[in-house]
């Protein structure tokens, strides 16, 4: 009887309850399958990790649909090359990139945190080596508090140590397709790599007839 009362008052959380998530929380990623697998898209107020084997493997093309819909500038912290205006314009990304370069990772993290707190950006992109659990938690808290969408682009991580990222994706360029593996997501289990058709945004690929 007492348990019933507690349940009615909403003081007991039941595991089998369906997580209802509001579509307002999500930003369309532009990819149907990715949206489905992430529960609706990129979560507003989240830090996401994109693991790439090599730079330029498709991580930026994956984000192109997101970057197109932004009303605010994009911050680039320590990218591996210059973001190129004509290419961004060609993909209908209109905000001029704001670039921050630092000599140390500590400064990069500080700059990222400051930028999150300013709430000035549509998306914050940072290229960083593996981050400590404490820093990820700190950034995630800031991103959630200020409702900012942050991507950390980093190398493939082989350990499975837990981090407070909302999503962790492993990106892979295969011979025929670009594949996204989900190592962590908010509304489900990890997922094996699936194809994400980023090639449709890029110059046509010709198969060489050998």
């Amino acid at each position: 009887m007492q348990l019933q009362q507690l349940l009615q008052q909403g003081l007991v959380w039941q595991g089998q309850q369906q997580q209802r998530h509001d579509q307002q929380q999500f930003v369309d990623s532009g990819w149907v399958e990715l949206n489905q697998n992430l529960g609706g898209g990129w979560l507003r107020g989240s830090v996401n990790e994109l693991q790439v084997a090599q730079p330029f493997s498709g991580e930026l093309a994956l984000l192109v649909p997101l970057l197109r819909q932004l009303q605010r500038p994009i911050l680039w912290i320590n990218p591996p090359a210059q973001p190129y205006l004509p290419g961004l314009l060609h993909q209908q990304i209109e905000h001029s990139p704001l670039l921050v370069r630092t000599h140390s990772q500590q400064h990069a993290l500080w700059a990222l945190e400051q930028a999150i707190q300013s709430r000035q950006f549509g998306v914050l992109l940072a290229w960083l080596p593996e981050l400590s659990a404490a820093w990820v938690r700190r950034l995630q808290q800031a991103a959630e508090q200020h409702q900012q969408l942050v991507f950390i682009i980093t190398a493939w991580q082989h350990t499975d140590e837990a981090r407070a990222y909302v999503t962790r994706l492993q990106l892979q360029r295969g011979a025929d397709s670009f594949q996204v593996g989900i190592k962590k997501r908010r509304f489900g289990w990890p997922l094996a790599p699936f194809v994400c058709p980023i090639d449709q945004l890029l110059p046509t690929r010709r198969r060489l007839v050998s």
């Binding site: 973001p83 190129y84 961004l88 314009l89 921050v100 700059a111 300013s118 011979a175």
Partner: protein, 478 residues
């Protein structure tokens, strides 16, 4: 009705120096000495520790040093004291518009219009005192129905604040003739004839006094009664801000300079507030023992005027700096003053689902640049050029202007490598091309290249070109 207020700060220079010292240093007996010849100098200002040890005004240097062995001696510099007086006037100019300087230690305020605003003398004094929170100087304030009466009372140390003109006149009449401010010769002669107070002087016939002591005496009496308008040159704040501070002891790092800098920035804040200006750059100048100086420019990406903003950003910027030699003097100059822009809140953005910004982009960039260096924050700026590496230029955030770029007709990569990298063509599959880009023949970096889109062994789509030097990768599409 007493409409004049006179402030007399007899220890102005020493008090200002003490304010920059640590409490332990302030406990040391210290005096300022005036006089041309070493050995024949006299004590003109002394702190409380010196007074407790028996030092008195006008004591000879020899007597003072014999009395207190560990006494700190410094020369009295009238020019310095005068510049401090101007700083005080500037500080209070925020509250009172009519201030006349009586160098080196006095300020005269015309308070008829502000007395009602501050609710009488007490309210006015509180307001004046509030500005001095971090600048503890000792002073005497007296009111008067004429400027000269107020001044004589303050200089005699009588802090009489009253709306009643009669009580002021009585108090002045009782002052000894030695406090009259007349020339010493006149004072001696007056004392010889038995006139020992100002009141006694006023009872004499003016024409008789005039015959004996000349015109200065009649003028003096007329000014005392306010019959002659005092030639008042009211203080006009300078159009530029440039101030300096003596540090007294050598300071070895920028960190330690922050405390005196705070004082200067506080004055700057007052300066900017009066004029409704903001500042975009500061010049810090540190003078060293050998007469050399070090300069440090602090730039702000957005206009600032509040003490906390200026201090915070300066602190971030100075954290990265080293001071090569110890500093003796600190000077601050405001550069790039500009009128304040009204701040517009963006109603449209606030109502959408986006979280409203907590600070402007300029404020953020200022913070980032302060800690990371100015070059660390850049923005891409389109250029009218055909050469791929010249189409955009990275500029300091503050230098950027809104320029639109023509939409490229042909595919362009998302990434551009700062320097192109040589490649082995065998490892690439050509997919599209060539696009010939030949340009720049008019300057010293001509460019003639055939660009292709190609895929490397890891299946990454790149932008590669062929020129006389061979094959290179220049950008990436992914």
């Amino acid at each position: 009705m007493n409409t004049w207020l006179y402030l007399h700060a007899p220890q102005l220079l020493l008090d200002t120096q003490l304010a920059l010292q640590t409490p332990a240093q302030q406990q040391q007996p210290q005096v300022l000495l005036a006089g041309s010849r070493v050995g024949a100098r006299q004590v003109v200002q002394y702190n409380q520790a010196a007074a407790a040890a028996g030092i008195a005004l006008h004591m000879a240097e020899v007597t003072a040093t014999t009395l207190v062995a560990e006494l700190q001696l410094r020369p009295y510099q009238v020019a310095h004291e005068q510049s401090i007086l101007e700083q005080l006037a500037q500080l209070w100019y925020q509250d009172i518009a009519h201030i006349a300087l009586y160098p080196p230690q006095g300020l005269l305020f015309e308070v008829a219009s502000v007395l009602r605003l501050y609710g009488g003398f007490q309210g006015l004094l509180q307001q004046l005192q509030q500005r001095l929170q971090e600048w503890p100087i000792r002073y005497v304030v007296a009111s008067g129905d004429t400027p000269l009466r107020a001044r004589l009372l303050a200089q005699a140390g009588q802090s009489l604040l009253s709306n009643d003109a009669d009580s002021v006149q009585q108090a002045v009449a009782q002052l000894p003739i030695s406090a009259s401010g007349l020339e010493p010769v006149h004072i001696t002669r007056l004392q010889q004839v038995g006139i020992t107070t100002i009141g006694a002087l006023q009872q004499r016939h003016r024409s008789a006094l005039g015959k004996r002591f000349g015109r200065t005496m009649t003028e003096y009496l007329a000014r005392l009664n306010g019959e002659l308008p005092m030639p008042q040159q009211y203080y006009q704040p300078p159009a530029q801000f440039s101030q300096q501070l003596d540090l007294l002891a050598e300071v070895a790092s920028w960190q330690q300079l922050l405390f005196p800098l705070r004082r200067l920035l506080q004055q700057l804040e007052a300066f900017l507030q009066v004029r409704q200006l903001s500042v975009r750059a500061l010049l810090l100048q540190v003078k060293h023992r050998d007469g050399q100086h070090t300069e440090q420019v602090i730039r702000f990406a957005h206009p600032v005027w509040q003490l906390k903003d200026m201090l915070g950003l300066t602190q971030l910027q100075l954290e990265r700096q080293q001071l090569d030699q110890p500093a003796l003097e600190l000077a601050l100059q405001a550069q790039r003053l500009e009128p304040r822009q009204p701040h517009h809140g963006d109603l449209v953005q606030a109502s959408s689902e986006l979280a409203a910004p907590t600070q402007s982009l300029g404020e953020l960039v200022s913070r980032l640049q302060a800690r990371l260096g100015e070059q660390a924050v850049q923005i891409a700026q389109p250029q009218r050029d055909w050469r791929p590496q010249q189409v955009q230029q990275w500029q300091l955030w503050q230098a950027a202007t809104a320029t639109a770029m023509a939409m490229p007709q042909l595919p362009r990569p998302l990434w551009l490598l700062t320097t192109e990298q040589a490649i082995e063509l065998q490892q690439w599959q050509l997919q599209w091309g060539p696009e010939r880009l030949a340009s720049g023949w008019w300057d010293d970096t001509p460019c003639q290249r055939d660009y292709y889109i190609a895929v490397d062994q890891q299946q990454r789509q790149g932008w590669i070109f062929h020129s006389e030097q061979g094959w290179f990768v220049h950008g990436w599409f992914t």
